[in-house]
């Protein structure tokens, strides 16, 4: 009985809620669609606040150690390819635009554009991960991946401090990439739901909330790029 009431796609004819408000998309414990939408948005922002804290701890560790070892961090940063980072920044910014347009298509009930924009967003996410894996492979081959007991080959001074930079690089970009992978999975589900016509101008909550998540992941990269790739004058590293 509970099952039948919580399923969004099939309004329960016995439910007073459906009769009272006339929307099959309204869960029984909300007054109207607007209250339902607002609750979803606040819940998503509460989740994003925990995400800000999660990444915030890593940014704090980064700031403390960069303040302590500025030369080693600048030197280690020059071993990252700022061009690949720039490419990924463009890819991710563009994916944020297409995600915003997907939400717009959802709000206005345009099914085909919705599917197309979601697919482009997903594709750009995959391009980002592809570039990232090229970078990771490069770092592994150079011996600049001081993780899991791998050897760290460092020619310059401050090997330990440089290893710390790469530790932070891999942990921060790794968790960021994990968020991308999860986001791509959610978008894949959304495409399937949109394909089956589950969304319209009255009900697009999952698209909007996935958009919030995707844009948040973009914001994390907006900070990661200059902090990891662009330290101390990139021209000096060429």
């Amino acid at each position: 009985m509970d099952d039948a009431r919580t399923r969004m796609d099939e309004p329960n004819p016995l439910s007073a809620t459906v009769d009272r408000h006339g929307s099959p998309y309204l869960a029984h414990h909300f007054d109207d669609l607007e209250q339902q939408f607002e609750s979803a948005r606040l819940g998503t922002w509460a989740f994003l606040a925990t995400e800000v804290m999660f990444f915030g701890g890593m940014f704090l560790a980064y700031t403390v150690y960069r303040g302590a070892y500025p030369e080693a961090f600048a030197e280690a940063s020059h071993h990252l390819d700022w061009r690949l980072g720039a490419l990924n920044t463009i890819v991710l910014l563009t994916s944020s635009l297409t995600m915003a347009l997907a939400v717009w298509a959802g709000q206005t009930g345009r099914r085909r554009p919705l599917i197309i924009f979601l697919a482009i967003t997903m594709l750009l996410g995959l391009v980002f991960l592809g570039v990232k894996s090229v970078e990771y492979t490069e770092k592994y081959l150079e011996g600049h991946m001081p993780l899991l007991g791998l050897p760290f080959a460092w020619e310059g001074e401050h090997a330990g401090q440089a290893a710390l930079f790469f530790d932070l690089y891999f942990v921060m970009t790794g968790f960021h990439a994990l968020h991308m992978i999860i986001g791509i999975g959610i978008i894949a589900v959304l495409i399937g739901l949109a394909w089956r016509g589950r969304f319209n101008a009255h009900y697009f909550t999952p698209i909007e909330m996935t958009g919030l998540y995707w844009h948040f992941v973009d914001i994390v990269w907006v900070f990661l790029y200059p902090l990891l790739y662009l330290i101390g004058g990139i021209a000096l590293g060429e």
Binding site: E38, W45, A49, L60, L97, M99, I219, V222, P226
Partner: protein, 116 residues
């Protein structure tokens, strides 16, 4: 007119409650994207100059400006309820507290003779 009839036009017109279903036009999204792109170019260009400590300050300032644009427009916070502002703002207030107080400690430690 029963409650059912009252509800339908309200749900159909997305503009009825601007706080909940404000639809940002595509032109605005493209404009915001353009500004974000210019700020990205600026980040890279600035990195070619060695400004010392200012590099960090400028990079963070540009990134913060980009984040604010994304939050206000792409994430619709500008057109969201005051409660959403509180939820979104709280995250960054706590972040600022954590970063601010911790760095105040690390920076000021060497000022005291006992730690020298």
């Amino acid at each position: 007119m029963g409650p059912y009839e009252q509800r339908i036009p309200r749900e159909q017109s997305s503009h009825h409650d601007p706080m909940v279903h404000h639809i940002i036009p595509v032109r605005t999204y493209l404009l915001v994207f353009g500004v974000l792109f210019v700020l990205f170019i600026l980040t890279v260009v600035v990195a070619f100059f060695d400004l010392g400590l200012l590099n960090f300050v400028v990079a963070i300032s540009i990134a913060a400006a980009k984040a604010v644009l994304i939050i206000l427009y792409f994430m619709h916070v500008r057109y969201s309820s005051r409660m959403t502002w509180v939820f979104a703002g709280a995250a960054f207030v706590w972040l600022a507290l954590m970063l601010g107080m911790t760095m105040a400690d690390y920076i000021s430690r060497s000022w005291l003779p006992i730690y020298r």
